[in-house]
Symmetry: C2
Subunit: 276 residues, 2 copies
């Protein structure tokens, strides 16, 4: 870019997000962990302090050039504070060497990350809140069930088919081919949130079964059906390959990984349907 941009390599990386769920902050944690970068994370603070840190960071600091922001995750690096998951990844990508090495790859990676967030995070969230985020699930349960059935039938295969096509085209193992990028991490984390219950493997033994929330993920039956179909093998292979990367594996089994709870992805048995 022709803009003057920061070359700040001294200030700490500060993730500002609520604790209690992996949420959208998780995409940023995975990039930082993969790169072995050190960072602070307000999700590790006691709940009240963490919430206050988010609220304060959303407002404009009168001496800064940063506008007030709408919602977390937020990321602070020196004088810069920014919001929006994909934007934070865009900022960090080149610094963490996770944005490809080719000319203009930053824009290809950003496009892929935005598409994964749209399709496999935002659309899935709206399956349990199709009418309004301000209403409880129980107040939109019928609509949620209807949306979930339609989503599993039409959208899930469409999205998985798209990612399979990208991986076929790149000849893998990663979305850009041989270059591992944060778009792979975003796709992994978005699919992870579907997979945990449907694909049994040793890693899952590490999820504490004592947690009351260890099984709260979206659409495990449909995702199991998708895996069985053999149509999306490259997507499932990418998922396995990301999970096996040493820094990711170490992080996932650490205390730093937030436990799943009533967040973007939720497990409602009545919505756990398969396509006819």
């Amino acid at each position: 870019m022709s803009q003057k941009v920061s070359s700040d390599n001294i200030s700490p990386y500060e993730l500002i997000y609520y604790g209690g769920v992996p949420g959208r902050g998780e995409h940023i944690r995975l990039a930082l962990e993969e790169a072995g970068a050190s960072y602070t994370d307000t999700a590790t603070l006691p709940m009240g302090e963490g919430r206050e840190a988010v609220t304060t960071a959303l407002e404009k600091n009168p001496r800064s050039q940063n506008p007030p922001y709408y919602a977390p995750p937020l990321f602070r690096h020196g004088a810069l504070t920014i919001s929006q998951t994909s934007n934070i990844l865009l900022y960090l990508g080149p610094k963490l060497r996770l944005a490809g090495g080719g000319e203009d790859d930053v824009y290809r990676v950003n496009a892929l990350a935005l598409t994964a967030l749209d399709g496999l995070s935002n659309e899935v969230h709206d399956c349990h809140h199709p009418i309004a985020v301000e209403l409880y699930y129980e107040e939109q349960k019928e609509e949620s069930h209807r949306r979930s059935k339609e989503w599993v039938k039409n959208r899930l295969p469409k999205h998985l088919g798209y990612w399979e096509k990208v991986l076929t085209s790149s000849e893998g193992p990663w979305l850009l081919g041989e270059s591992f990028t944060y778009a792979d991490l975003v796709l992994f984390q978005a699919s992870f949130s579907f997979l945990l219950l449907s694909v049994r493997d040793p890693f899952h033994a590490q999820v504490p079964s004592t947690s009351p929330f260890s099984n709260m993920f979206a659409f495990p039956k449909a995702m199991g059906q998708a895996k069985q179909s053999g149509k999306y093998d490259r997507v499932f292979q990418l998922w396995e390959a990301v999970k096996a990367r040493p820094n990711i594996a170490a992080y996932l089994s650490s205390e730093r990984r937030q436990k799943y709870d009533w967040g973007i992805y939720r497990y409602y048995p009545e919505n756990d349907v398969v396509a006819d």
Copy 2:
């Protein structure tokens, strides 16, 4: 950014999008028009040719480094093809001098643009398709009505309040203060799509009243109520100020401006409600 990025100033700018609605492509057109840049636009082709151009561009060209993409708008500049509205604006912003002049402003502008697209474009689209984009409006009319009522009651004031706060904080006239950026254009276009019916002024006379679709915009009553309230004066002032910029005014009254139709924003009288 530390990445190698294109300094291609010779290749033409090519917008690849369906004709028939302004849609998400409109955000890109407005940036190009504001800067006086020349570009090609597949929306100007006969409908069949335009659709074919989009379908072809979504697929990977075997000789290129670009992955296949999920959906338009697409943008081609030399060897680079990218998707995602905010990503295309990110790419063009510095080239068109519409991304701020301060260190790291590109990331502040991208955050603001993403937030406007989330809140005032995607959320509004889902008001007429809360269950599934694959179903007709008529098949989800009840859910659409319920979502619209909730959206007008809770989300519209929340979003307008946020943008008023940004403009108060920046001391205007623009979101970053004195520096006009493409985030202002995104906010303008998103609000425009609510406003056309509710705010009468000479410009609207230029919308051909013979078009059967000249009144298809979302929530004009609620937007009229918001304007009357006086709570969001800075947002409405920004809208007027963008509309009055010479290149934008010339564009809006030109044939290049796509007419509104059954797109992101739709006017269903039964959904045109006000908050109690």
